[in-house]
Symmetry: C2
Subunit: 321 residues, 2 copies
């Protein structure tokens, strides 16, 4: 099969596995963290302080994304972003990605090209490569991304280090993706500010290493919702967390969208996932690093409250529930 037939191919089946891999990986150059890129049994990446941070997230069509709501390019960006956000939440910087792509033999190469281009764009935005992967046949379009990172000599910031007296702070946007989801679910395609946030998150990648360097005692990325994810920190750290309602900003844009839909914008901000913001706890005596805003305090006990009371709307989103 010559290069011409590759360019004209309409389905994954016509292109074949190796043609597809060449198409996704060729002509991309190589970032400094990639010591050995695609084309071998495994990739080799830098792990300069002798440790590697590793996380994986799987996105399934019609569970985590819909191709009538998002373009393949947007799905590709999101699949990488949710993983890079996990790397940032450890206080690490990313070094490379592996991608497992499962799709039907009849899948259009346009979808695969779009996914790949979106993944490359998000990766290159932080200076890393798609260093390896696997492509297989499946009846369900599934994108499985593994992100690797390094700590640059710092200790990882886990969920379990929050201490009573710490300040709880957030970096990044809250509630925007939830507002976008509410808009899309009612059949609208605008306003783009919130719909775009649902399609492609904008995680505050730099805020993770900044928080680690500033002495954050715990950190998590907000994928299930602020209250739900703070619940994971409280449980792992065996502390309680109280969020101050008046410290959690509700953006004017979300108030407007909520008003149009008859929804509660505070609920989006407190429980909406998928913005991939970061939440962390800091010793009270430290000043917060750039991009971080205080939203509450850590106390003794267990559980998460808002202004000292249980927040009784449904918290966050759980799979299989």
């Amino acid at each position: 099969m010559g290069p011409d037939s590759s360019q004209d191919a309409q389905t994954v089946s016509q292109l074949g596995e190796f043609g597809l891999i060449r198409r996704v990986t060729s002509g991309r150059g190589q970032s400094p963290g990639t010591l050995l890129g695609p084309g071998d049994d495994a990739a080799v990446l830098s792990a300069s302080d002798g440790r590697v941070v590793a996380t994986t997230d799987v996105l399934v069509q019609n569970v985590h994304f819909r191709l009538d709501w998002s373009t393949p390019h947007q799905v590709g960006r999101k699949a990488v972003a949710v993983n890079l956000s996990d790397i940032a939440a450890m206080g690490a910087v990313p070094t490379g990605l592996l991608v497992g792509l499962a799709c039907s033999a009849e899948e259009s190469t346009t979808v695969v090209d779009g996914l790949a281009a979106g993944m490359w764009e998000e990766a290159r935005g932080v200076g890393i490569d798609l260093a390896g992967g696997d492509m297989v046949t499946s009846t369900t379009l599934t994108v499985s991304v593994t992100a690797l990172g390094e700590l640059e000599g710092r200790e990882p910031v886990t969920r379990s280090g929050a201490r009573p007296g710490d300040v709880v702070a957030v970096a990044g946007r809250l509630g925007w993706a939830a507002a976008g989801l509410a808009v899309l679910a009612r059949g609208f395609r605008s306003p783009l500010a919130v719909v775009g946030a649902q399609r492609v998150p904008e995680p505050p990648y730099e805020a993770g290493p900044l928080a680690a360097a500033a002495g954050a005692t715990s950190m998590i990325d907000i994928s299930d919702g602020l209250l739900a994810d703070l619940g994971h920190v409280a449980e792992a750290s065996q502390v309680s967390i109280d969020v101050r309602g008046d410290q959690v900003e509700i953006p004017q844009r979300l108030i407007e969208v909520a008003s149009a839909l008859g929804a509660n914008p505070q609920h989006w901000v407190l429980t909406g996932g998928e913005d991939q913001a970061l939440a962390a706890t800091f010793p009270a005596e430290r000043s917060l690093p750039q991009g971080w805003t205080a939203v509450g305090t850590v106390g003794r006990g267990r559980g998460v409250t808002v202004d000292g009371a249980d927040y009784d709307e449904q918290e966050g989103w759980q799979h299989w529930r």
Copy 2:
């Protein structure tokens, strides 16, 4: 939900995501390569020489495995084995695994428990952990494994270093999984020697680092078939490879099975995949390390031949073909 209801739960949905993760990860202890295990946004693994080897393979139900042919435990072992084999083929030793599991909310917890137990068994056999992962909903049962490893100061052995004059050698079994597949495809369940090889490969993990230490110039794991995978080495190295038919052992057991099925046992050995044997090239003046057997030579030119001639049965197995 208390621990009792967890034990009695019959479907993934009843157990919930977090209950399922606890069930798969709890009580396993921690291997030395795992610096931070499951329960956080990412795992942290050892990469003591400042580099990490990383590979991912995705296994899809009814494409890569069938639960009427294999138990979930066997599928779990195989999913890990195919990844560990890639690590070995770089000359590396494994340090840890990440697992992405996609399954239906109605999937039986027995399936998930079996998969997890099989993955843990194969991982513990080489002294590593399931250090992290993701569990999501999908209509298609999909197991996505990422294996990480380290080179212990050695250079990675790629596919591209074979030189004319090198000896071609293999370690591990050839043709057994193909024979098992032929048996299963005709509705039989025995002989177990070959059916078992199809269900769970036994890759020669130690042979990879041994080959690297012995100066192997190129290496690959045989997942598509000996001739097909040597073709990848020949192409990447820009050399030709000639396999000596009389040097490739055809086990007596395979001759017997082939005779019963009216099949060609040499074809299984030369083109059968899924045994995850290793093929490598060595300088002719070196003696081969333990577990390795010479099967051919590297020459100038391109392509793979058997006794100097094209092998004209279909070579190996390609996705989407």
